[in-house]
Subunit: 404 residues, 2 copies
DNA sequence: CTGATATAATTCAGCACTCAAAATAATCTG
DNA sequence: CAGATTATTTTGAGTGCTGAATTATATCAG
């Protein structure tokens, strides 16, 4: 077995090769070299080592394929079994647990309801440990050793220290989470903001490869954002950067859940839209504090069918969100602003007012400097992103099978 | 002469040593090693090479000094004569030209008035070339070869492409500047936003060493900002990030120079303060479009003496700026916000309203997460920062004297 | 089927770098 | 002056990367 602490250069090259294989699929040695700017000889050296430890394998040659002449490429692929990781997404009254393999493929997914508001740090860890153990056991091949866990939590977290600062789903604050969980589960645990997970997986998509400065706005019960600067999420001093939801539309404006007035969230989030609508319109019944998907869809439908009250509500929301986005454009100057989250269902209804507001608010020099688009919402994206992040953070050197 | 393209590791280590010497002054080899995490043997190898090329020299041992026992340290210092750089700061109707040596010390400084609005790209280059040549000739030791030039321009610039995007001082836009100037002057030219120069030199000060996420707000005729994220300036897609001046206080508010309404700048910049004041108060005479320093100081004095109109003007400005800063805190979550620029003269008058506005606007979870302070204004800071940046960007490998 | 051609992967020789340890240098203490 | 102490330099070993040469495996033309 080779040294566990190799030369930093070798380490960088190894990580680059593994990441390339994960993001772009099986690839020949020579292509791995050109893709990462290293010589083919070095790729051979590195892949030989990885093969020896079972982290990658050679794809059996397929007879037909390959139009070209000379010796056919031997594709290298990540060995899916080499590692198993889990991403746990914790949001209000729901916990989603997804397991993935070394190649980043999802192996198993579960969603559970629970009352999050009454959890203590201890009972939260109990619940998470239980669910994670269950998922590990449910993996094909019986209980598997887990090589890393990503905790994706809505709210403010500090990835560096592993502390939960504040989450709308939980009553307690400023609590270390990764330490206790890592101890209970015996594997590395990382903590991330849920929106950063989504942004990271969006940034990996080829469509957004040329937009390294990316702002991803999440519309939902609240409004969140993740800003990628040169591909890396902006964290800020204590992990609570990019709080667009509580940036201001107008002083003394609508009351926000945070207690202040005039926050963007107080106009364009689900709870704000619902608050305006439920007294004036007849929507399906539900919990008054937390509008259901059915209720929100009914509201959007009304707006799309031309109901003046619903239209007015979305117009106001679009205007507020437009002003918020204009500030984001002025302050971050991103290549692209991507709007997603369950709230995109109402984007079309907001769009005219939103775009007009941006035109009205944005300094003329910046008009047209950034693109604005939506991305369809998929509730599993968070965990996919978290699996990508924990795999990226998982040191291949540590996975080496000691028996070899 | 050794290879011009050394191993990247060696290159990194060499740059680290030169930067350490520049920022922390003369230092012994062993301390250079511990400061940069490299072995003393490697430091010897690198300094030997630098000595050979005349980029550093050994400080003559001072007999007394050194309380300690064993062999005394031999201090290495940057050889000031090894390079000469110039920073040119272009602002409305003024150009400032400052020359510095390899150690970062100012050698010569000039300030000239000119009418910037009528300049074309060509005539601008003419003027700059002339001034730079003059400064090069004025250096002790006659005309010196210049090893790098930093162009610090107010407005939006693209450091990567060397393009001026837009500046309030100039009529033309989207024009390449570094290319033509480099050709005329025969040395590398870099382009930076003036505020980024100031932020970079502030960040280097020991007092701000522990605040890698720093927002520097420049109050003056307009309002600018530079945001350092982990010590690096945020540029954005085309260099126009951090435009706090045109972030919004209130929809439909005061008219801004940019043509929009409600920008922070339309309340708290010199021109906005003056616009409010000059009809109501008796201030010293001056150009109505560009208030003079004397006029602005008179206005501040009135506010400090309790004049209700002046106080009201600064109150309103403070409130708008406070809302702007609250957005910056929510979106960037910096360790520290530093307010500087000539406009700090009015900070005390704005402070109560400013702090109240932040309390009123900032989401409670973030209150207290960032510090807020002012930094005394010094109009030479820009060029000092620019000299630091161009020296940092100057590759020591390229300075090697070919005759050695 | 054979030889020419083409491309991929591996091996090899050479070089650059770092580091730990040993050697050397320069100073102070008693 | 003989240690003791600290700084710097030299040396030897180890590791990594690369280009060139070599080997492996295919297609193509006839």
């Amino acid at each position: 077995m080779t040294s566990l602490v190799p030369d930093p250069t070798r380490r960088d090259n190894t990580l680059a090769i593994v990441d390339t294989l994960r993001n772009q699929g099986p690839m020949a040695r020579i292509d791995l070299g050109t893709a990462n700017g290293i010589s083919s000889a070095t790729v051979t050296a590195i892949t030989t080592e990885l093969l020896r430890h079972g982290l990658v394998s050679e794809l059996p040659a397929e007879p037909h394929r390959q139009g070209g002449r000379g010796r056919p490429k031997t594709l290298i692929r990540l060995e899916p079994e080499a590692a198993h990781v889990v991403c746990v997404k914790l949001s209000l009254n729901e916990v989603q647990v997804v397991a993935g393999d070394f190649a980043g493929q999802v192996r198993h997914a579960e969603t559970h309801s629970l009352t999050t508001a009454t959890l203590t740090p201890d009972t939260l860890c109990d619940v998470l440990e239980e669910h994670i153990q269950a998922v590990s056991a449910a993996l094909p091949g019986g209980p598997r050793r887990l090589d890393g866990i990503c905790l994706a939590i809505q709210g403010v977290v500090s990835p560096a220290s592993g502390m939960l600062i504040w989450s709308p789903a939980l009553r307690f604050r400023n609590t270390p989470l990764t330490g206790p969980l890592a101890e209970r589960l015996g594997c590395p645990v990382m903590l991330e903001n849920d929106t950063n997970c989504i942004a990271s997986i969006l940034a990996r998509q080829p469509a957004y490869a040329d937009t390294p400065n990316l702002a991803v706005i999440m519309l939902g019960y609240g409004i969140g954002m993740s800003v990628l600067i040169d591909g890396r999420p902006l964290l800020g001093a204590n992990g609570s950067a990019a709080e667009i939801g509580h940036s201001k539309f107008e002083p003394g404006g609508a009351l926000c859940a945070c207690g202040r007035r005039g926050c963007i969230e107080a106009y364009a989030s689900d709870y704000a839209l619902y608050r305006e609508a439920h007294a004036l319109l007849s929507l399906p019944p539900g919990d008054s504090a937390h509008p259901s998907e059915a209720q929100m869809q009914a509201l959007v439908r009304l707006a799309e069918q031309g109901d003046p009250v619903a239209r007015q509500i979305y117009h106001k929301a679009g205007r507020a969100l437009g002003y918020g986005i204009a500030n984001v454009l002025a302050l971050f100057n991103p290549d692209l602003v991507l709007v997603t989250g369950s709230g995109v269902r109402g984007y079309a209804a907001m769009q005219p007012a939103l775009e007009a507001a941006i035109d009205e608010a944005l300094v003329p020099e910046l008009v047209g400097a950034s693109r604005l688009a939506t991305h369809p919402w998929d509730r599993d994206m968070t965990c996919l992103g978290g699996i990508g992040l924990i795999l990226e953070a998982t040191d291949p050197m540590r996975l080496t099978d000691l028996s070899s």
